[in-house]
């Protein structure tokens, strides 16, 4: 069943039950109360009747009677009985004579005072002794209130409840249909994202409710992670095939060349030495690839840990020193915070390493090994790393596209690259909930600002 229908039914059922219970209880208690009240009125009449019937002839009785006639409202079909009970006459006879129920008379004689309802007729009675005579004083009347007002109340309640049910039904249907609209939107948008356009993200509208924007954020973070993994793989494959391809080409070329015609043993030695050198390089690359596979991605879940940013930068620098000994990377520590806690972030060391290596490599590559400065500083909430180079820069009109995978700026034809590094770096930074800001001027240089939130201790 759709959650939508479920919600509508639950909502409708709940409100209907509440209203029905409310209506029934109102009716029930009012009904009960009207009986109690009416019996009290009848009892009052019985006691007054007793007073003037049993003491008839006295002045007191006369006054009481006139008082009763003048001031007590005559009830619907009110009848008053004064019955003398003698042991000779049976209750059946009395009942038949006065048109009263027999059971009532029997109960009355046992209890003393007794009330009963016979259809619409309410009967109240009392049982007295005067001298050696026994009397029943009985008053019977119909309850106008019950027969009319309560029926009216019932009609009103039934009408009201059915109106409420109708409104609740309409409302719960409408409500359940529209409360899921944002979720439906998200579903539609997520459906559009595939491997082709994995860089797309869901729009996060601040006006939406917190739950929805959390859901959107979660989806976007998930997409970030997927995209990062995706591009790491792409990057890896293209790098690996390039790295493996170069020595192989050399080996093939060298062997081909040697086989063209018979050569002297010196020439063969040189050729074989070259081949050996390239084969060794190939071996080294394969080994390091294997090592990378063993250490980096064991299939374990990547866990965030405490990482010191300056350490990562030093490691990256030493890696780049090995790969590209001509680089001129300067690490500026003039604004390094005194407190080492202000350099610790919650992150994945390998990924951060990869991100900084990308940025620094780009800085060296596109500036032809001119000096590159890395500034490290930290505010109270973020570590700020700024990488400044004096390279070719990025044309202003193209700066919006630099995060698109495989995009390369128009002035980069002379440099080797795949257009994967920067999107990858941005994904890594956003995985760490940080910001990556690139600003650049053509032929003057590029400044890359990375801000990563500090770990909360």
């Amino acid at each position: 069943m759709k959650t939508q229908t479920k919600l509508a039914i639950i909502l409708g059922f709940l409100s209907t039950t509440l209203v029905v219970v409310f209506g029934i209880s109102v009716y029930y208690f009012l009904d009960k109360y009207s009986y109690v009240d009416f019996y009290k009125r009848l009892e009052a009449r019985v006691s007054i009747a007793t007073q003037y019937s049993l003491n008839s002839g006295t002045l007191n009785a006369k006054y009481l009677k006139s008082l009763r006639e003048q001031h007590l409202e005559a009830l619907e079909k009110e009848k008053e009985y004064l019955i003398e009970v003698s042991p000779k006459t049976s209750f059946q006879e009395i009942a038949q004579k006065n048109n009263l129920p027999v059971n009532f008379l029997i109960s009355l004689s046992k209890v003393g005072t007794y009330n009963e309802k016979q259809g619409n007729l309410f009967i109240a009675g009392s049982h007295y002794k005067k001298g050696n005579k026994r009397y029943f004083v009985i008053v019977s009347a119909e309850n106008y209130y019950v027969s009319n007002h309560l029926i009216f109340l019932r009609t009103v309640l039934i009408g009201g409840i059915s109106m409420v049910i109708l409104i609740v039904a309409i409302f719960s249907f409408y409500f359940s249909k529209h409360i899921f609209d944002p979720i439906k939107d998200i579903t539609d948008k997520v459906k559009q994202i595939s491997t082709e356009n994995i860089h797309l993200r869901l729009e996060n509208n601040i006006n939406k409710s917190i739950e929805i924007s959390e859901l959107t954020n979660t989806f976007n973070e998930l997409l970030n992670r997927i995209e990062t993994a995706f591009e790491i793989q792409k990057n890896f494959i293209s790098n690996a095939s390039h790295e493996l391809g170069t020595p192989l080409t050399t080996i093939i070329g060298e062997a081909d060349f040697s086989l063209l015609k018979p050569r002297s043993s010196e020439e063969y030695t040189i050729a074989i030495k070259n081949i050996l050198q390239q084969a060794e390089r190939l071996n080294e690359i394969t080994k390091s690839l294997l090592f990378l596979a063993q250490t980096g991605y064991k299939g374990k879940a990547i866990t965030f840990e405490m990482v010191r940013i300056d350490e990562v930068i030093w490691q990256t620098k030493s890696l780049i020193d090995k790969l590209n000994p001509n680089n001129k990377i300067l690490v500026d520590l003039r604004l390094l915070p005194e407190d080492p806690k202000k350099l610790k972030v919650n992150g994945i060391q390998q990924l951060l390493h990869l991100a900084f290596a990308n940025i620094l490599n780009n800085a060296c590559k596109y500036s032809n090994n001119k000096p590159v400065t890395v500034h490290i500083a930290s505010s109270n909430s973020q570590v700020i790393i700024i990488v400044e180079d004096q390279g070719i820069g990025i044309p202003e009109s193209e700066i919006d596209f630099i995060y698109d995978p495989f995009f390369r700026a128009s002035n980069t034809n002379l440099f080797e690259g795949h257009g994967i590094g920067l999107p990858l770096t941005r994904n890594i930074v956003s995985l760490h909930k940080g910001d990556l800001i690139v600003s650049s001027q053509v032929n003057i240089g590029t400044k890359v600002q990375i801000r990563i939130p500090l770990i909360k201790i």
Binding site: D332, R334, L335, L336, P337, E338, D339, K342, T373, H375, A377, S378, S379, N380, S381, Q382, I384, I386, E388, I437, S439, K447, Q449
Partner: protein, 158 residues
């Protein structure tokens, strides 16, 4: 003994460079820093009635300025004993002298080649400071190009 230094600012990151350079030569002695922002007081009585310098300051602090200030404080954590931002409203020597005496200022650092930005209702206190016979140290800060808001923080890293 705590030393009090005063640096005029205009709430731009560039003006904080003076503070950065000023703090560098000090060894471990504790320093009290006063950042002075100069503006003319409003003439309107209602404005004056509700004027508080805290409100002025908190309205003017930009996120970048805040970050830059925090960077400097983190850098010189051991040296800075306390740092506060004061507004200065006077425009003559006496007012400046009173301000400096009230705050027990020992040294004033002013940028030698940077013009403080003076938008409406504000003024640069540097000419006044130059004329006073206080202990003034001029520092040379580099501000080579105009920066957008997003890039302002870069000026701290020159």
């Amino acid at each position: 003994m705590t030393k009090t230094i005063l640096v005029p600012i205009d709430f731009s990151v560039a003006s904080l460079n003076t503070l950065k350079i000023a703090l560098e030569p000090y060894s471990e002695e504790p320093i009290e820093v006063i950042l002075m922002y100069s503006e003319y007081l409003d003439d309107s009585i209602t404005e004056l009635l509700f004027h508080t310098s805290n409100k002025t300051v908190s309205n003017l602090i930009t996120p970048d300025f805040k970050d830059a200030l925090e960077i400097i404080i983190n850098r010189f954590d051991g040296k800075i004993k306390c740092l506060h931002i004061e507004t200065f409203h006077g425009h003559n020597q006496n007012a400046l002298r009173t301000f400096l005496e009230a705050n027990h200022v020992d040294e004033i650092y002013i940028p030698s080649n940077y013009q403080l930005k003076t938008p409406k209702k504000t003024f640069s206190p540097i000419p006044l400071i130059r004329k006073s016979n206080y202990h003034i140290i001029e520092v040379n800060i580099e501000t080579d190009f105009e920066l957008t808001i997003q890039e302002q923080i870069f000026s701290l890293f020159n």
